[in-house]
Amino acid sequence: MTAVAPLALPTLPAAFQQSNVDYLAILPLLIVFGTALIGVLVEAFASRERRHAIQVTLAVAGLLAAAAAIILAAKHQGLTMGLTDGSTNRQLFALAIDGPALFMQATILLLGVLGVLTMAERFGGVGPDAFTPSGASTPGSATETAAARAGALTSEVFPLTMFAIFGMMLFPTTNDLIGMFVALEVLSLPLYILSGLARRRRLLSQEASLKYFLLGAFSSAFFLFGTALLYGYAGSVYFGDLSKAIAAGPLAMNGLLVPGAFLVFVGLLFKVGAVPFHAWTPDVYQGAPTPVTGFMAACTKAAAFGAILRLGYVGLDTGRWEWTNALVLVALLTMVVGSVLSVTQTDMKRLLAYSSIAHAGFILVGVLAFDRKGVGAVLFYIVAYGFSTIAAFAIVSLVRQNGAEATHLSQWAGLGKRYPVVAGAFAFLMLAFAGIPLTSGFVSKFGVFSAAIGTGGATGTVLAIVGVLCSAITVFVYARVIVLMFFSDAPDDAVEVVIPSVSTTFSIAIGTLATLALGVLPSALLDLADRASQFVR
């Protein structure tokens, strides 16, 4: 009788060792992920009538709980955890819970709350107004009603959004290239679907979704290729090792390092819409359901800039001289192309898309300061821009003609005379985008430009000057919108502003007030961003 083999527990290969995981440090991530999973269950088991209410409540509650958990996590900073290769003692999958990561997580969570609240808008209908229950039917048609009756509600957007938020939170937290890639895909896939769910102008939306997916896959390929090259260079994907390897590495290997570093950046720059990887932005921003656009513009940008900061300041910091020039070129192109192209836009959503491209350029200027001050300024910029942009897109979703969003600029003529409050709020947000003092936009731009001039050397100064000139160009664009709203006569078939529910009103109000508050009293957040600007290695 041979002894009965003990029941083999599924264990990791001997070479890999599980580090001690500090669950409090990753509690925010776990909460969001758990909420998303529960959302899937709700989708399967909750009754149709109550599903929307449950999903919205669940999502908001999960986000707020995760935001509260950040306070706990902040006491557990500095941990790098994950799998360790037992034979070489190398870390394979690592999370860095540090100031920038937690700041970004909190930002994404709070902006996510506003995004979810905007998506939840129903205007009295059964499902979320912006999303279609059946991609083949026209809004309000019998087919659509039949689809809704058959149970094809669109409350799955909330779990999808939660998964995206989970990916976004993971993105700036991962401390190795593979983890970063996983996070990139986790955040992207739900967004591809969300972009294609628009209820009106469905073909545009579906086209946008497909384009976003194709180009996103393309950029992911660049990222992976870059990862492969860097692994070939350093023999590791862990940022700590990468940094050490570059410091010690021979110049002869630069043939691997320089393209590798840049290609990895390409994958991230794609997500923020930096030129020349921006081409998807206007099409997708225009096609996606407007609340999704606002959410993407604010949160994806935050997550991707968090990742760019970590890659540039932790993973590839020692090889900075090799890749800085590439990023400088990208920043210059992004600012110039974004602002120049915004001049001739005639569609509000495309205009805001190009504005978002230009802003990505301005934020890159802050990244290129290579200093803690620059990190703080970038963090501040992302929060300020996020609040303004979510509110702006939420307002765009209210201005309608015959039930559909009126996004052509000419349709906005004379809006200020008939709806002074809404148009006033929008005008204020335009001023913030333009960077007029007493708005958060001014403080943000001042922060990144002064950081660039302070520590970015001659390049930083050039970037700041170009940034200021490009800001001047964009002022024209925003001022034109304001002039159009307040000083032009409304056309005969004038648009109307539909009255939103409490949730959308809340996100517009919070977004606008935050824009004002961060412009008038920026010091609290500036201090916080400054304190959160230290990376753990």
């Binding site: 497909l210 384009k211 194709l214 180009l215 393309f218 950029s219 660049f222 630069n254 320089v258 393209p259 840049f262 290609l263 390409v266 794609f270 030129v275 020349p276 990887f277 081409a279 998807w280 206007p282 099409d283 090799e322 890749w323 020039n325 590439a326 070129l329 990208v330 192309v337 120049v340 192209l341 915004s342 001049v343 001739t344 001050k373 703080g376 300024a377 403080v443 001042f446 922060g447 002064s450 160009i473 024209f476 008038v520 009293l521 920026p522 010091s523 500036l526 400054d530």
Partner: protein, 661 residues
């Protein structure tokens, strides 16, 4: 993070009061305790009134005026309590700094918004709140039939708040906020009846003339920041007293003086005050006689260490004061409009104060003393003039007055007290303050005491003439009324404030002057009067000389405007009379020197702008637009092109990197 303005709400809960370590140039300011900690209410109460009335709209029409008046009295009560608390402390412990909140923190440049409650600011606080509140009461009667009186009271409250902020500020920057605030309130109130284009123009004129002065003040603040790196009184005045660069001090002093000239209607920025009489008479009494126009004197006295470190600037202050006191007096002799005559007199009296303020420690206390006395008697006389206008269908031409003493007994009596006070007849208040200024002007060596002393002396004589002329033409002599007027005494709401002010004009000088109460009160701030400084003419002789001149001026007026018939239309008059009627051609001078070259400059600038700047801007815009249209074509909607763009971008940038390395 750079220049970021922090403005924290100063709600009572967040209000922190602690010793700001404000070293005035004489001593340390102490921590605010007890009632003094609530000194911010002085500004907050009237500001609240203005906000409620302006934001509340027509809903507040009914109770607005009473609310505004109550809040103004509330500010007075706070002021009185703070004053009593101050009296309870020793002379050296009276100055108190109250830090409200960190206002601006931009790198090394920090300004905290705070109040400086010391002896000097307290004098102003009591004057502003007391006279201001009386005038609020008077206005309830005066503006009774005005449809828009809510707005009027809102502006009055706004003015009181801004003026209190001006005198309580602990830094030049916060003072500047109040300075602009009173300018705004003054502008709004001069043009209160702006449906009359002439009144609206008067408001604009006041605004523009003040703006010139304000530029001076702002430049002074900029130079201060450049030189001292700070703008709070403690640092600036402390440093000015010790090791200061005289060139900088002169520059700051002259620029401060420019600001003071604008606000206080001193030569050469005096032209707006006469026209400012377009505002309702209570406004003329409060803003353009008792308080706002004296802000320039406050500024000079507050900045004493700067002027003492810059003798040139100090001399210019005296010269400006002397010129203005004569200028105003001469203009006052020829005006037939009762309010404009009073305005000229105000200008002249502030000239006295300015002269005294420029004399240094011998004059500071008397400048402020005269300011206080003037606040009482001039406000009283303006209110009297308002009462007369009320009874005379809003006429202002004194040639159509006369013999009103019978019809308006209370107005006549209170006006008479004010008249005796401004003449400097003992024991009325003006005697104790103006005579001291004349004495101080005669102190010194060389040519100065003779020039400035004689100017002040001569001014006293002319003052006696034109004020008596005004008084006699209005209240005595033959009745020259137009047919449709039926003069009557005004109601209690108007007469009681006049009586209170008259009592003050009669006795306040006697109480505070000869007893030395006032000078010793101010001594910690303005410094002691130097020992052994004697006028070049013995004091009794000087006093007698002054009284003789005053009597002569009064007698001349009596002869011409009481005993003799006053023609109802103005006679042609001598050349000098004609000039004086036209304010010594000041408007013409301004027009020739400033307006016409200004217009030509503007025109040529507009030309250059449209041809050069607009051309360049237009070309640039066309370039951007064109580039934009061309670049737009790249965005063709095909995913394959977009992917190609990305690939081309990657290749191009990697190629560029390769070339660069």
């Amino acid at each position: 993070m750079g220049t970021l303005v922090q403005t924290l709400a100063s709600s009572s809960s967040t209000l922190s009061t602690y010793a700001a370590g404000l070293a005035t140039h004489e001593g340390e300011a102490h921590a605010a305790t007890g009632v003094t900690a609530y000194a911010w209410l002085l500004v907050a109460l009237p500001l609240l009134g203005a906000a409620v009335l302006l934001l509340g709209g027509r809903r507040t029409d009914r109770f607005g005026p009473v609310l505004a008046t109550a809040l103004s009295w509330g500010a007075f009560v706070v002021g009185a309590l703070v004053f009593l608390a101050m009296l309870g402390r020793g002379a050296e412990d009276r100055a108190v700094g109250i830090n409200l909140f960190d206002w601006i923190a931009a790198g090394s440049f920090k300004v905290s918004a705070g109040l400086l409650v010391d002896q000097l600011s307290m004098v102003f606080v009591l004057l502003i709140t007391f006279v201001g509140s009386l005038i609020h009461v008077y206005s309830i009667g005066y503006m009774e039939h005005d449809a828009d009186k809510r707005r009027f009271f809102a502006y009055l409250n706004l003015f009181v708040a801004a003026m209190l902020l001006l005198v309580l500020a602990n830094s030049y920057l916060l003072l500047y906020v109040g300075w602009e605030g009173v300018g705004l309130a003054s502008y709004l109130l001069i043009g209160f009846w702006n449906y009359n284009p002439a009144y609206a123009t008067a408001a604009n004129k006041a605004f523009v003339a003040n703006r010139v002065g304000d530029f001076g003040l702002s430049i002074a603040i900029i130079v201060m920041f450049f030189h001292f790196g700070a703008v709070d009184f403690a640092t600036v005045l402390g440093a000015a007293g010790s090791n200061a660069n005289q060139g900088f001090m002169t520059a700051i002093g002259l620029m401060l003086l420019l600001g003071a000239c604008g606000k206080s209607a001193q030569f050469p920025l005096q032209s707006w005050l006469g026209d400012a009489m377009a505002g309702p008479t209570p406004v003329s009494a409060l803003i353009h006689a008792a308080t706002m126009v004296t802000a320039g004197v406050y500024l000079v006295v507050r900045s004493a260490p700067i002027f003492e470190a810059a003798p040139t600037a100090q001399l210019v202050v005296v010269i400006v004061g002397a010129i203005t006191l004569l200028f105003g007096a001469i203009v006052g002799c020829a005006k037939d409009d009762i309010k404009k005559a009073l305005a000229a007199s105000t200008m002249s009296q502030i000239g006295y104060m300015m002269l005294a303020a420029g004399l240094g420690p011998v004059g500071y206390a008397f400048a402020i003393f005269h300011l206080l006395m003037h606040g009482f008697f001039k406000a009283g006389m303006f209110l009297g003039a308002g009462s007369v206008m009320h009874g005379m269908n809003d006429q202002v031409d004194m040639r159509r007055f006369g013999g009103l003493s019978g019809a308006m007994k209370i107005t006549w009596a209170t006006f008479a007290v004010g008249w005796l006070a401004i003449l400097g007849v003992p024991p009325f208040s003006g005697f104790w303050s103006k005579d001291k200024i004349i004495e101080a002007a005669f102190i010194g060596e060389g040519w100065r005491p003779w020039v400035f002393g004689l100017a002040a002396l001569l001014g006293a004589g002319i003052t006696a003439f034109y004020m008596s002329r005004l008084f006699f033409m209005t209240f005595h002599g033959k009745k020259r009324w137009t047919d449709d007027v039926h003069p009557h005494e005004s109601g209690k709401l108007m007469t009681v404030p006049m009586i209170v002010l008259a009592v003050g004009s009669a006795f306040l000088g006697l109480i505070l002057g000869p007893t030395g109460l006032f000078t010793s009160w101010l001594e910690p701030v303005t410094g002691a009067e130097p020992e052994g400084a004697h006028p070049v003419i013995p004091v009794p002789v000087l006093m007698a000389l002054t009284l003789v001149l005053v009597a002569a001026g009064g007698a001349l007026a009596w002869l011409r405007y009481w005993r003799d018939e006053v023609p109802v239309t103005a006679p042609a008059g001598s050349l000098i009379t004609q000039a004086a009627r036209k304010d010594l051609y000041q408007d013409q001078v301004n027009e020739a020197l400033l307006m016409r070259p200004g217009i030509h400059l503007t025109r040529s600038l507009v030309f250059a702008d449209s041809k050069g700047v607009d051309g360049a801007a237009g070309g640039l815009a066309a370039l951007v637009g064109g580039t934009s249209s061309r670049l737009r074509k790249l965005q063709n909607g095909f995913a394959r092109s977009y992917a190609l763009t990305m690939l081309a971008g990657v290749v191009a940038i990697l190629g560029a990197l390769w070339v660069m390395s």
